[in-house]
Subunit: 219 residues, 2 copies
DNA sequence: CTAATAATCAAGTAATCGCTTGAATGTTGT
DNA sequence: ACAACATTCAAGCGATTACTTGATTATTAG
């Protein structure tokens, strides 16, 4: 006997949610959002074993969040479409709004200080036009190379102090990283503000910027 | 030793997704979206035992998707905010777009025939102004009583034929039910079209209509 | 064809989840 | 205080999940 269509539908919707219910898969998605990548690269980036990463990726694929294609020996994964990114972001929004624990963690990242409102992407685009802003891309060099915001300089958190010292103390700095689940940008902004610099975080990361249809520089 | 803030954040985000990863919780959310309700009523509606429903509801609460308040002997649950509804809907959209299985089930509900595009809520509101539309609310009477679209008549799927027979065959009918995961509206539209009537489905259900800030009639 | 590389499959284990059952808690009305 | 009601807690179970390990399947290069 077949189950009811309603139950079958709910089972499918639950499958999508379940795909997002493991931290390991969320980091994989974050990585995939940076650009198309093979299993080994993703496993490396996320610290998962290859077999484990492969299994998680298949979960994501069955849930329709990512698609894969074979190129030579590799199988490359990418996000199915913008909705996947929207879904990741909406989960973050709900969590930030309603979970006290998340509030606490984010406050910890800002070291107790009040974090300033993030800069909108529209605002940053306007400031780039004016040339009145310094942009820090705090992702690892290989992700920077795959695509970054025009004019951004790639700065690791370790190099932050050194790079900041070369700047005019009045500069406006905007930091960004991977996207919805990025933590580096918070840390960078906190460190820069401790040095008395004017730093803010970009709302969203490179994937969102790209999704807006804005210019992206690839090396 | 404490885990990294990043891992802690991902754990929280995963918690939100996990709350949506069981069909039982999705039906509970669908019910809660109709209006504030107690545990027993929700258990009844969803066919869960009371203890089981209570546990699922606590999952949803911990994930920040619903909130509860005590009123007398009962504990009433409701959606935290509109984002919960948005999240449920986005999951449905991703599933409909990317999962062949969902496509198949929805096609089955339309009995092979091509389902017409749903009517937007703006469009329906305009048609109500004109008085040029017949609205069928195909939810159970108690949900209809808690709130429905102005001018809608409450018709069960069983009564559909009888009610349809009293209508001018040229009438435009719009059917709606609970919301993102509703199935009745599909079935009603299919049945009505088989009788040669002009029937379409409303995009979204009552919760979305209410969320738009439109008028809702409660008995 | 063979070797090397990239990914997947298959089996096993520990942990978690969904559900049931029965007891415990909190609230209201007598 | 007591009984009645609504909900939650606690323990136990079978099923599922995440991860590991080792074998297997594609694809390319020699």
């Amino acid at each position: 006997m077949s189950i009811s269509p309603k139950a079958a539908l709910l089972e499918e919707y639950a499958l999508v949610a379940r795909a997002l219910s493991a931290p390991a898969r969320l980091v994989l998605l974050e990585q995939i959002a940076q650009g198309e990548r093979g299993v080994e690269a993703l496993a490396d980036k996320t610290g998962l074993t290859i077999a484990n990463a492969s299994q998680h990726l298949q979960h994501l694929r069955r849930a329709g969040l990512v698609t894969s294609r074979r190129e030579g020996k590799s199988v490359l994964y990418r996000l199915s479409d913008a909705k996947t990114l929207a879904l990741m972001d909406l989960i973050r929004v709900v969590a930030e709004r309603n979970l006290a624990q998340v509030e606490r963690i984010l406050r910890g990242l800002s070291d107790g200080a009040d974090a300033p409102e993030p800069v909108t992407r529209d605002e940053l685009a306007a400031r780039i036009e004016e040339g009145s802003v310094t942009i820090f891309d705090v992702r690892p060099p290989d992700e920077f190379a795959m695509g970054h915001i025009p004019g951004a300089q790639n700065v690791s958190l370790a190099d932050l102090d050194r790079t900041a010292a070369t700047l005019d103390p009045g500069s406006d700095i905007v930091a960004y990283c991977r996207g919805p689940y990025c933590v580096y940008a918070y840390q960078a902004v906190t460190a820069l503000r401790k040095r008395g610099l004017k730093a803010r975080r970009l709302d969203g990361g490179l994937p969102e910027w790209r999704e807006d249809g804005r210019q992206v520089i690839a090396l």
